[in-house]
């Protein structure tokens, strides 16, 4: 955090694989606001091979749009002097594939999973987990490490005072693999040891000479507790020292990043993009005391972030995306699952051809309404699968002793249950082209409702121009500035969804609502299997009383009423009585098309003539 001196203006960039995005934030009155945004192609690869060129191009666009001088030749003007320059320049990076790591643990579902969470939380892509019980023979593990060539390895295993033999065995496997780093050949592969502290001498003996070994605190000092932060900090440090330093132009970029304090200019680290996104989501969850899920759906990967019970989790679904990985979405979800979101008849081969075309021409965007509907159908499945994977990793600790009472005789919950509680979810934030750039915001609403199936009362939002990475790194320096911009300029509030859990009879009243809208009180009865949209603008709130009928539940108990405050958005309020647990779509094509069209019309998702247009 900045000490004492208030930052007047902040320039932040995010160096992505294809585009470098720059934003300019200024203090206006008491709060910070986004001024302009600029972007330029990333120049980390040939022919430029210097990331700073793309950064300067993006900043030049910001200069032009903002009408103020930020650059002095090839240098950013710091600190701010009158209207020239900025008080802080910060950056994130995912260029060159981001940080790719391998992690190890003794038991895959225990220290292996803790190591995975530590690496993912630090913004890495976890290429593989090597564990003592992964049923692979030592030579297979060695070959795997050699083949993958990670940027870094996180070696963990055993609690403090626990097993030594297994951890030392893992170290011997790494030593035998003698892995070389992916970028650069002049340095040793960074290995972070975060396992049983009693085994440190043996680990140093085996890896000290062969790798750039760094020892930190155990990520699982006891079975009952994780200690991930020291390992995450170490990953960030090594990411800067080793990985970033090897990427073209990053040494120069690292020398630019920093911010003005009372004691002068303080350098700031470049963060991996996903770590920065996670950071801003954690910050918001902490500040507002809410439970949040965030998703960033890209072309090749989909990142899901969540904060439940103050526990932050992040997962990367490396093969789920909307362009390069779109065929894999089809393979994993299956054609019937994609087709169930398409509100018109379509030949199976035609759908396959469209999807393959998107894969080989990843930069194309839908040219017709039909193409848009198909793309959004696929995105629902990509998001659903990514969220399923997230739920599987965002779990409580396994291997922890339980305390029972006699009432547990017939229902014994097991440890390691998912932390994701959709009923307790307060805010769902979507990001990525298909969500942020949907022609109608209401399309993003329906995509998120269909993919995540939020329960109870949940606010929905999308990231307007994907500036969460920049705000994440800014939160490290100035939390207030980051949250001000996040709330005012980053998030586009879509509205609030109200979805009771349970199953009812099609057509029978499922929910009675009395909502005090600014235009007056409105009484609504929503039949089961239907959706209703009510207007409530951005910045407006409305008190509401809901009476779920029968055994439907909004969180107060089956059939019990709920009083709550609804927050408005560009979409308004969405009363979703299509059922949860289970959520069902008719399987026969005619009924499916009828229901999808009915829902689409109720929310005004697509132009009404789409059915005839498609037919």
């Amino acid at each position: 955090m900045s000490e004492g001196k208030e930052l007047r203006s902040i320039l932040a960039t995010d160096c992505g694989s294809t585009t470098t995005k720059a934003i300019l934030i200024e203090k206006q009155g008491d709060s910070y606001r986004l001024v302009v945004r600029g972007e330029a192609p990333t120049t980390v690869e040939a022919p430029f091979e210097d990331v700073t060129k793309g950064v300067l191009n993006a900043i030049m666009e910001v200069e032009e749009l903002a009408g103020r001088k930020l650059l002095d030749g090839d240098k950013i003007i710091v600190p701010q002097n009158g209207t020239e320059g900025v008080d802080a320049y910060l950056s994130t990076s995912s260029a060159g594939g981001g940080l790719q790591m391998m992690v190890t643990g003794v038991v895959k579902s225990m220290t292996g999973e803790s190591a995975e969470r530590a690496a993912l939380g630090a913004g890495a892509i976890v290429m593989d987990i090597v564990a003592s019980n992964d049923r692979r023979l030592p030579h297979e593990k060695i070959r795997r490490i050699r083949d993958l060539r990670p940027d870094m390895i996180l070696l963990s295993g055993g609690i403090d005072g626990g097993t030594k033999t297994h951890v030392v065995e893992l170290a011997e496997i790494i030593a035998a693999a003698d892995p070389r780093p992916r970028l650069g050949s002049s340095y040793d592969l960074p290995v972070i040891y975060a396992g049983n502290q009693d085994a440190i001498p043996e680990i140093e003996e085996r890896l000290g000479g062969k790798t750039s070994l760094e020892v930190t605190e155990n990520i699982r000092p006891v079975m009952e507790r994780e200690n991930l932060m020291p390992a995450r900090h170490k990953i960030h440090d090594l990411f800067m020292e080793h990985v970033m330093a090897q990427a073209p132009g990053y040494k120069k970029l690292m020398s630019w990043t920093g911010y003005q304090t009372n004691s002068g200019w303080t350098s700031a680290p470049i963060m991996p993009t996903p770590a920065a996104v996670g950071n801003i989501i954690q910050t918001i969850a902490k500040q507002e005391g809410i439970q949040v899920v965030g998703v960033d759906i890209g072309g090749a990967t989909t990142d899901v972030f969540s904060v439940f019970q103050d526990v932050f989790n992040r997962t990367v679904s490396a093969n789920l995306g909307m362009s390069y990985s779109v065929s894999n979405v089809l393979a994993e979800a299956g054609l019937p699952n994609v087709m169930r979101w398409v509100p018109f008849d379509m030949d199976e081969s035609e759908l396959r051809n469209r999807i393959k075309n998107k894969m080989i021409r990843p930069t194309t965007i839908p040219q017709s309404l039909e193409e848009l509907i198909i793309e959004q159908a696929i995105s629902r499945e990509a998001l659903r699968l990514a969220f399923e994977q997230h739920k599987a990793l965002a779990v409580g600790l396994k291997g922890v002793q339980q305390e029972r009472t006699i009432s547990d005789t017939f229902e014994q919950s097991s440890s390691g249950e998912t932390l994701i509680d959709l009923l307790g979810l307060d805010l769902l934030v979507g990001s990525g082209g298909v969500l942020s750039h949907a022609p109608r915001r209401i399309q993003s609403v329906l995509m998120m409702l269909d993919a995540f199936l939020p329960e109870g009362v949940t606010q929905l939002a999308v990231d307007s121009i994907f500036m969460m990475p920049q705000l994440g790194v800014l939160a490290e320096v100035n939390e207030r500035a980051a949250t001000d911009v996040f709330v005012a300029d980053c998030l586009i509030r879509l509205g609030t969804a109200v979805a009771p859990i349970g199953k009812g009879k099609e057509g029978q009243t499922a929910l009675k609502a009395t909502i005090q809208l600014p235009s007056g009180a409105q009484h609504v009865e929503v039949p089961f299997g239907s959706m209703v949209r009510l207007p409530l603008a951005v910045g407006e709130t409305a008190n509401a009383t809901f009476e779920p009928q029968g055994k439907l539940d909004l969180g107060s108990g089956p059939g019990k009423s709920l009083q709550t405050e609804l927050v408005g958005g560009v979409g308004g309020i969405f009363l979703d009585c299509r059922g949860r647990r289970p959520f069902e779509i008719p399987t026969d094509p005619a009924s499916r098309i009828r229901k999808l069209t009915e829902w689409s019309d109720a929310l005004e998702v697509y132009p009404k003539e789409h059915a005839t247009a498609s037919a």
Binding site: G158, I159, G162, Q402, Q412
Partner: protein, 385 residues
């Protein structure tokens, strides 16, 4: 039984006595005549003598019309029509039937004559291949075996057979994983009953799966035993588990320990192991009695993950409160199929479950029918002769 009587020689000295004798003879004659007349009048209506059906040929069934018969019915038997007649039973007329069997009963293939209140009929006992009185039992057995065969076939063909989640069994790997991470052994107690107890046998099947897991995780397994006969069984079970996963070198015979067949001496010794060696996972799977709470409480204080399973339902409350996971009753017997997923075991388990479902449905329907006053139809279905 009537026997011929020779007249007494007349005394030459007493004519009066002779006259008295003549009177007596007349009375006797009249009495006999009356008796014969009565017998003829009491001929048993509806009398049938035949081979007793559905048996192995060692009984003859005598039936008559119970309502029309007189006060009493005498059943005599002879091997020829001429006799001699042997009294088999005297019954009230309302009894309506008599099965001549058991001690002194007829022999298979031999013809017997029955005189029932003087009326003579014959029958030959023969053996039947099919006992129609037990057809219901056969059908139930056929249904049970059929269900098992069907599910066995499905399992062998790789069909997916759903077995509901049993938290205790899913936690088995977790418990062993915990022991591995902590560098501590796994303790497996297969109950205190002998090798002929079904729970001990099932426990050995589970021990095999546990031994495989432990060998894969390369951690230590301690098996204390209360019965000497179980020792070789347990030793071989664990050894084969280690061999199955290719780690025979990790097997330690010393860890399969016979402690004592005295209940509380054994309990004290197991507590000693828990307190000294601090296993990170305690598995109590088998037949347990009063020692259950002592063992489970001690294990809890050492901080171990504990999984218990027993069919001795009186011990379940103690295990439930002191263990992390407890398998109750049938769950314990499903364990080996759940863990191994072998088609033979899974198919048998599913077949058994389905049969239980059939019985439950039958009981519900029968209870409803009985409540509505139609219990006879169901009762007759269940009668076994």
């Amino acid at each position: 039984m009537i026997k011929n009587r020779t007249p007494l020689p007349a005394s030459p000295s007493s004519a009066k006595r002779l006259a008295l004798s003549a009177c007596s003879g007349l009375v006797l004659f009249l009495g006999l005549a009356a008796l014969l007349a009565t017998s003829a009048a009491a001929a048993v209506p509806g009398l049938v003598v035949r081979d007793n059906p559905d048996d192995r040929g060692e009984a003859i069934l005598v039936e008559w019309d119970g309502e029309a018969a007189g006060d009493s019915v005498r059943v005599e038997r002879a091997e020829s029509e001429a006799g001699p007649w042997v009294m088999r039973r005297a019954l009230p007329g309302s009894a309506a039937r008599f099965v001549d069997q058991g001690e002194g009963g007829p022999e298979r293939g031999k013809t017997y004559f029955y005189r029932v209140n003087g009326q003579v009929l014959s029958a030959t006992p023969t053996a039947q291949w099919w006992n129609k009185g037990r057809t219901n039992l056969f059908l139930i057995l056929a249904l049970y075996l059929g269900l098992i065969m069907v599910f066995l076939n499905i399992a062998r063909k790789g069909g997916s057979l759903f077995i509901r989640k049993i938290a205790g069994l899913d936690a088995m790997e977790e418990a062993i994983g915990r022991a591995t991470e902590m560098g501590k052994p796994v303790l497996y107690v297969p109950g205190i009953d002998d090798a002929n107890n079904i729970q001990t046998i099932y426990s050995m099947a589970i021990l095999n799966s546990v031994a495989k897991m432990v060998a894969q995780y390369d951690t230590e397994l301690i098996v204390p035993l209360a019965k000497a006969f179980v020792l070789p069984l347990a030793e071989e079970t664990v050894r084969s588990g280690y061999m199955d996963v290719g780690r025979p070198d990790s097997f330690r015979a010393d860890n399969i320990r016979f402690l004592s067949d005295e209940q509380f001496a054994f309990t004290a010794a197991v507590n000693g192991i828990m307190l000294r060696e601090k296993p990170a996972a305690n598995l109590f799977l088998g037949s347990f009695f009063a020692e259950s709470l002592v063992l489970a409480e001690t294990g809890f204080t050492t901080g171990a993950i504990q999984i218990a399973g027993t069919a001795n339902i009186h011990q379940l409350p103690f295990f439930v409160v002191a263990c992390d996971y407890t398998m109750i009753g049938e769950e314990f017997f499903a364990t080996s199929a759940y863990l191994s997923r072998e088609p033979m075991l899974v198919g048998t388990l599913k077949g058994g479950d389905m049969m239980k479902l059939v019985i439950m449905v039958f009981l519900v329907v029968a209870a409803i029918a009985a409540t509505m006053g139609h219990s006879e139809a169901f009762r007759s279905l269940l009668v076994i002769r």
